[in-house]
């Protein structure tokens, strides 16, 4: 059974239907992709899964348990972690403290493993930013700040990692390293769901891809299946940069 199942999710903002009966499932040990033109509702879907956005209808089930009515922090404690499209780091804190605050919190519901400080350092190491541990995070360039966010999610020891455009703001080599890291993480059994506009990144990395267009999930399958799907091609024509090759 899939780790996360979201079914029949509908979200309306006034007259605008941002998500229309959309469903998705995410398997442990895989990288799942969610793509779609700008404004398709991808971020909104992430907000629904993490509890930041209420749904009109629909259910979110994590590992067989219905979490639709759980608050944001309770879902986090069950293993959902995310990054934000427009980075949300804690400006008043140093890079290390950004991660530390997550590691300390995690020990509230899972006391195993090393002390928070060691764990935070390990997370920085894993994404490769130990050398900026003492810097103020407010002053970082976008790419580094994204990595801080990623390290911070890892400190919660998530089972499901939701990444909103993880490679934007990273340069070529950093993007490559990010892909390697995500592969590594899934080998450890983590489920990764990512939203991305960089098609070569998505196609090379994801096991399955879901395509969202105007709030509807119009296709779902392996990268090859999705690329040859005619409805996907028409959804992208003229809206994105024709990057589905």
């Amino acid at each position: 059974m899939a780790l996360l199942e979201a079914t029949g999710v509908t979200v309306r903002f006034g007259g605008l239907t941002a998500l229309d009966d959309a469903s998705i499932s995410v398997e442990a040990g895989q990288v799942t992709g969610m793509i779609g033109p700008n404004g398709a509702g991808k971020t909104t879907f992430f907000n629904v899964m993490t509890g930041l956005q209420d749904t009109t209808t629909g259910r979110v089930v994590l590992d067989g348990r219905d979490i639709t009515r759980l608050s944001v922090h309770r879902r986090a404690r069950r293993g959902i972690a995310r990054t934000f499209q427009r980075i949300e780091v804690f400006d008043q804190l140093s890079v290390l403290d950004n991660v530390l605050v997550a590691a300390e919190m995690r020990r509230r519901w899972d006391r195993s493993g090393p002390q928070p400080r060691e764990e935070a350092m390990a997370c920085l190491e894993r994404v490769g930013i130990t050398q900026i541990a003492d810097l103020s995070v407010a002053a970082l360039p976008t790419g580094s700040a994204r990595l801080v966010e990623l390290a911070r999610t890892l400190a919660t020891r998530p089972r499901l990692l939701l990444l909103d455009e993880p490679s934007s703001g990273l340069n070529g080599s950093e993007t490559q390293a990010m892909a390697d890291l995500l592969r590594n993480l899934t080998e450890d059994g983590l489920a990764v769901l990512l939203v991305e506009h960089d098609m070569s990144f998505v196609m090379g990395l994801c096991h399955r891809i879901n395509v969202l267009s105007f709030g509807e999930m119009i296709a779902s399958g392996t990268p090859t299946e999705v690329q040859s799907d005619p409805s996907v091609q028409s959804a992208y024509l003229g809206t994105d940069h024709g990057a589905v090759r």
Binding site: H73, R77, D91, L93, M105, P141, G172
Partner: protein, 720 residues
């Protein structure tokens, strides 16, 4: 506006509560056409004045996004100007009114917009709140300076005190009739202006999107000036209409119009019809209480407390604030994040103790009065600083606005009086702190639902509620009974509340408090508080419970304030309700924020400034500056538009490179002065100068990825 079942339940509950309270406190005065009629006439008049004032708030808020706490004080000020022209100089009424309402008030509004409000755009909300609250104190101070003393100034009602016409057996004076007509007329005109005219539509659009507005051809600068002019005029109208009814007293007039906040909150600060409705409910409700209810002793302020209660209920009934995802603006410099180490805090504390000990011992030449008033001033300074410390974790670190620190302090003082007032035992201080903590946690409940402005309003309502309904209870403070608080018994000493020993004790307490706070800041609690301040959404997705975190920080803050309040009680020896009013609490908040609310040192800065104003006034004998205690903090807060960082931040930056062991500060100083010119790059959202990778990155985002060969390895500090 759609109401949820919970809203209906809240309304039903409120109405039921109101009916029950009315039944319980029924005075038994006759209910006849005449009494009900006169209640309605007075109530509707009052409601009309609230409506005019509240619509000024709404105009400014919808157009500029700034909630003008000074609306009431502005109305008060213009009422005084009108009085000066009309009754002191005997100008004809139409000329005086025309000059004030149509010329001076709008001009004042435009000047304010130009000099102050325009600079608030895009600044943190805390700053906006402080500046308009500062403006409120500024106007009050100005009025108290220009028109000294309450020497029975009276504004005559329009068309005389008597006269008018009969309606259902009730005499409606011409003044009241005019008031009601003016309010109705203004309501209709405002509605037409904002919804029917082109300029009005543009005004409503400004706050949503400045750039969009300029696309429509309207100039946002002119429009915001216009809104402030209009808001100021409406304040003047309300002030001039209320003055004959309530008398010309600075605080009274300001607070009457502060009550209009509740009306504006009913309209969610945006809707004119609902604001009008709220104003009428307020006016008639207050008059109903005065006419037909008799509340027992301690609750005799019930009529005045009604707006506060309404404000609190309305603010709580608002839908829960969504967790806001705001995105971080990438800045462009590399700065080592340094949190003051405990050793530095301890050193600073020691230095302070040494200074105070020698100062109060007469070792410093400047001070010739180390006994009596001089030391007592020092005591006031330290107690104020300790109460200010309570806001450092709460507002400075966790970002929770609180205008009620003095209510917490008062609660602590009362608790000390109850548990250790006779003996003055020091453990009573700890008890006072512990007993005040739950009150703070109570205040956290609205804070869980509310953010920013609404939290500020709720805390004001909280403070005013305490002032009018709690401290007035004879079971709380029995001012008549002359209960006295004994001097402090601590470790075998007996410290008189105005003596040198007490001052030194307070200094040690303050220093210990600073060290303790820094330890908290460096602990997991401090990190959690700063995390919810910076992004509640991100914090929650890490498993941080916002409820729990806010309850803890409010509890700790209240405990510190309660402790400070108990210390204040020992200094004062007797308590009375007027020591803990909302208005007295505001300078405490303002001066701390002026210092830099995130730094414990700012509390000392604030404490020093508190007594500085008193000392300046006395030493220089400037009797014309009679209201400096409110004027000073008010103006300082307004001046924050120029230095938004807070005074101690700059002092620290200038001073710390001079300390021999602060190599980091010297490095930082050099770095900053070397990199100042690179800022332009930051506008592109890139942290460093353009490199080949950035070009590639931009290309990729713009969709021309395929034209460029795969990027090569690079130097990258933040790389994977």
């Amino acid at each position: 506006m759609k109401l949820s079942p919970a809203n209906y339940a809240a309304i039903a509950l409120t109405v039921a509560g109101a009916i029950a309270l009315s039944a319980l406190n029924w005075s038994g005065r006759p209910v006849s056409v005449a009494t009900v009629g006169s209640m309605l006439v007075v109530g509707v008049t009052l409601g009309s004045i609230y409506a005019v004032s509240a619509s000024g708030l709404v105009v400014v808020y919808t157009t500029t996004g700034v909630f003008n706490f000074a609306q009431g004080a502005m109305g008060m000020y213009w009422a005084f100007v009108y009085w000066e022209l009309r009754f002191n100089r005997n100008w004809p009424a139409p000329i005086a009114i025309g000059l004030v309402v149509l010329v001076m008030a709008p001009l004042g509004g435009v000047v304010l917009d130009r000099l102050v409000m325009r600079r608030l755009r895009g600044t943190p909300l805390v700053l906006q709140l402080m500046v308009t609250v500062g403006l409120m104190l500024g106007f009050m101070g100005l009025a108290a300076t220009q028109w000294k003393g309450d020497r029975g100034r009276n504004a005559q009602p329009f068309f005389g005190r008597t006269g008018g016409f009969e309606l259902l057996g009730v005499n409606v004076t011409w003044h009241r009739f005019t008031t009601i007509c003016v309010a109705v007329l203004l309501a209709v005109l405002l509605r037409l202006l904002l919804h029917r005219s082109r300029i009005g539509v543009a005004m409503r659009a400004v706050v949503d999107s400045r750039s969009l507005t300029s696309l429509t051809g309207a100039n946002p600068e002119i429009i915001s000036g216009l809104a402030w002019a209009l808001g100021s005029s409406l304040a003047a109208v309300a002030g001039i209409l209320i003055a004959p009814e309530s008398g010309l007293v600075v605080e009274l007039l300001t607070l009457v119009v502060v009550d209009a906040f509740a009306a504006a909150a009913v309209g969610r600060l945006r809707s004119f019809p609902l604001t009008f409705l709220g104003a009428m409910v307020l006016g008639i409700g207050q008059q109903f209480i005065r006419s037909f209810l008799d509340f027992p002793g301690g609750f005799s302020n019930a009529d005045r407390a009604l707006p506060t209660i309404l404000l609190f209920v309305v603010v709580l009934a608002l839908p829960q604030a969504k967790l806001h995802i705001r995105g971080t603006a990438a800045a462009a410099s590399t700065r080592i994040r340094r949190i003051t180490p405990l050793s530095d805090a301890a050193l600073g504390g020691l230095a302070l103790i040494v200074v105070i000990v020698s100062w109060s011992g007469g070792l410093v030449p400047f001070v010739d009065e180390w006994t009596g008033t001089g030391v007592n001033r020092g005591v006031t300074m330290m107690i104020t600083a300790i109460i200010m410390l309570s806001l450092v974790p709460l507002t400075g670190w966790a970002g929770q606005v609180n205008f009620a620190p003095l209510a917490f302090a008062g609660f602590g003082a009362v608790m000390f009086l109850k548990v250790a007032g006779d003996s003055g035992q020091a453990w009573g201080l700890v008890m006072a702190a512990l007993l005040t903590a739950p009150v703070g946690a109570l205040m956290a409940l609205p804070a869980v639902r509310l953010q920013g402005l609404y939290l500020a309003l709720a805390s004001m309502a909280f403070a005013r509620g305490f002032e009018l309904l709690f401290f007035t209870q004879s079971s709380v403070i029995d001012s008549g009974a002359g209960e006295r608080i004994a001097s402090l018994h601590f470790a075998g000493w007996q410290l008189d509340g105005r003596g040198r020993g007490y001052l030194i004790f307070l200094t040690i307490v303050f220093a210990a408090g600073v060290v303790g706070l820094i330890a908290l800041k460096r602990s997991r609690y401090g990190r959690r508080w700063m995390a919810i301040h910076d992004s509640e959404a991100a914090a929650a997705t890490l498993g941080i419970s916002l409820v729990e975190t806010k309850v803890i920080v409010f509890g700790i803050s209240a405990a510190i304030a309660g402790f400070g309040g108990a210390l204040f009680g020992i200094q004062q020896a007797t308590l009375n309700p007027s020591q803990f009013t909302l208005l007295l609490g505001l300078p405490i908040v303002l001066l701390l924020v002026v210092g830099g609310v995130a730094y414990p040192a700012a509390a000392l800065f604030g404490g020093v400034n508190t007594i500085l104003f008193i000392v300046i006034k006395e030493r220089l004998g400037w009797s014309w500056l009679s209201a400096l205690e409110i004027l000073g903090p008010g103006l300082m807060a307004v001046a924050m538009v120029v230095n938004t960082r807070g005074a101690v931040t700059d002092m620290g930056r200038a001073f710390s490179p001079l300390l021999p062991w602060r190599h980091d500060a010297r490095d930082q100083f050099r770095l900053e002065h070397a990199t100042e010119r690179e800022d332009e790059v930051g506008e592109l959202g890139l942290g460093r100068p353009f490199t080949r990778d950035h070009v590639n990155d931009l290309d990729r985002q713009l969709g021309i990825v395929d034209l460029i060969p795969a990027s090569r390895p690079t130097e990258s500090r933040g790389g994977l």
